[in-house]
Symmetry: C2
Subunit: 328 residues, 2 copies
């Protein structure tokens, strides 16, 4: 008998196929079929949902509460909406320490306040020990639509801007788990991307937060929506020393690591330097960089190409199976 496997939760290709083949057809409607980070409803309402099952629930740079606010806030931001309201659904495992819950609630509150959203609806369920894992959180979010991503306007020469270094969130989780004996001093990048909202009024064509599947998976998905290949430059991709070292040590490609406070933007060529300069003024965008472009000469439609440090071209595939379970 066919059973659900862990790799379906990876954010990679198998998950995408699973959702596109099994879940979406069950609810055929145009809003869900777009598979956007948030659905745009009549009345300029954006609506999104995410469940958070990160393990461990506390990690360097954050916890499941901070993550549950920022993840959903960021889904709204990249869909073209100003985040306004969140709901909060808690599934608590019997035996969770009260102190831990209170710490997470404080963290949810602080993150909501920072992202300027209000938590206006909630629900709490408790399950027996061994039927959950400390705490799972669902946040659904409502935002006000101010723009719509316009992948159809993307043209060769448009630039790809990455707002910061890759992979700190994944590495912080791995370190906190003690997996691989890692002891890197790295903080999760978990943060709200609301500072990117003004760019929707400034020519921004498309934006995605870099979560499960990493930069390579997310840009691969973009290539399915446009008739041009994308080219990114390995040497231009900002990486912290800790992520670089850990990636080499473990043989993990940082292009597939999840962040929780980084985005990749597609900006018309002529606006690139202005947008980049403004992003870099924000503390969360200090390490932003132009990492590549929409190609007119090299490659074929549907391809995501990496120009390696050595000067060669490598085709990047979307993540196909589970890399790091319960990263968010």
């Amino acid at each position: 008998m066919k059973k659900i496997s862990l790799e379906l939760g990876s954010g990679g290709k198998s998950m995408r196929d699973f959702i596109a083949r099994t879940i979406v057809p069950a609810f055929k409607n145009p809003m869900l079929a777009e598979l956007l980070d948030a659905s745009h409803l009549p009345g300029r309402i954006a609506f999104t949902t995410d469940s958070y099952v990160v393990d461990p629930i506390f990690f360097p740079g954050g916890d499941i509460g901070k993550l549950a606010v920022n993840g959903t806030v960021n889904d709204l931001v990249v869909s073209g909406a100003v985040p306004q309201y969140l709901s909060l659904g808690l599934i608590l495992e019997e035996g969770l320490e009260w102190n831990a819950l209170e710490k997470i609630l404080r963290s949810l509150k602080a993150a909501a306040s920072r992202a300027r959203v209000e938590i206006v609806a909630g629900d709490t369920k408790v399950v027996k020990q061994g039927q959950g894992d400390k705490i799972y959180i669902n946040t659904s979010g409502i935002g006000k639509v101010i723009a719509k991503p316009r992948p159809k306007l993307i043209r060769p020469g448009d630039k790809l801007i990455l707002t910061g270094t890759l992979g700190e969130h994944s590495l912080a989780i791995l370190t906190a788990r003690g997996d691989f004996g890692l002891e890197a001093r790295v903080q999760s990048d978990c943060a709200p991307l609301t500072f990117l909202l003004p760019f929707w009024k400034n020519g921004l064509l498309w934006m995605r937060d870099i979560t499960r599947g990493g930069l390579a998976t997310i840009l691969s998905e973009l290539t399915e929506q446009i008739p041009y290949p994308l080219l990114i430059e390995e040497d231009e991709i900002p990486l912290s020393k800790a992520v670089q070292a850990a990636s080499e040590l473990l043989g993990i490609d940082p292009l597939y690591l999840a962040c929780e406070g980084r985005a990749v933007l597609v900006v018309p060529g002529e606006k690139t330097h202005d947008v980049l300069a403004r992003i870099k003024k924000n503390p969360l965008g200090r390490k932003a960089a132009i990492i590549g472009q929409v190609e007119g000469k090299i490659g074929r439609p549907g391809e995501l190409l990496l120009r390696t440090s050595a000067g060669g071209l490598r085709l990047l595939e979307p993540l196909s199976s589970e890399l790091l379970p319960r990263i968010c």
Copy 2:
């Protein structure tokens, strides 16, 4: 060290206290502090969330998918809103049978179609075996506000209408679990309450769906909002033979059993018979009855009184601790 206990998930007084003391103060805002079934946001938007952890996931008369749609739809209806959109957050346990998932997705779709809501946003997470229990579902709902419950207008002589028999959902779950060796042939009452929406334009003062905690807990909560006691008549409360028999056998009071397709309404005295007649025309309201009233002579403010079959008066307290875990 203080830890989370199962009884916090009961829907009873300990849960209410927990939410009021621990969760709400963490997010002080007037919308959440009202503790309504759904929050009313600017722009006549109603917003609600619920996580469903029912065990077993298939039961006579429904499954977790049907429940996840109707539960959230009903929270919107009783808050005074027309349900419009749902989000769907799945937490799947590794090893869940594919067939079971597909059956639940079909059931979600059928329930959404029946309640005339669209599922427009979704998220899927997978956790390892032993970190969940087959499937947990969060649905958050958006509706259009058409009215607001008006408990302040409630006066002595206003009548309480119950839309159908009590407790079938709880009993169906108990039977499906095989607890207590029960073999009753009873179907869950799980259903959408959208047929009650027109009454908001017809003098309806207040309405609640009868879920965790049962009728007695829900009416106890109403007594906290009004300066009059409530009196209900044991002989007028519709009960199926199966629920009556099982309750006697197990020593459970059906007034504390959960339903998933029943509501209790407060209607001005003079409109009662008209409203009752119209509710009874709907198949889901066929067994509706006037079960009591807002009292002006007997009892004291804050009291919920039951006139027993024997003619005595009994004070009903809200459910204080866990009766049946994971009933929804």
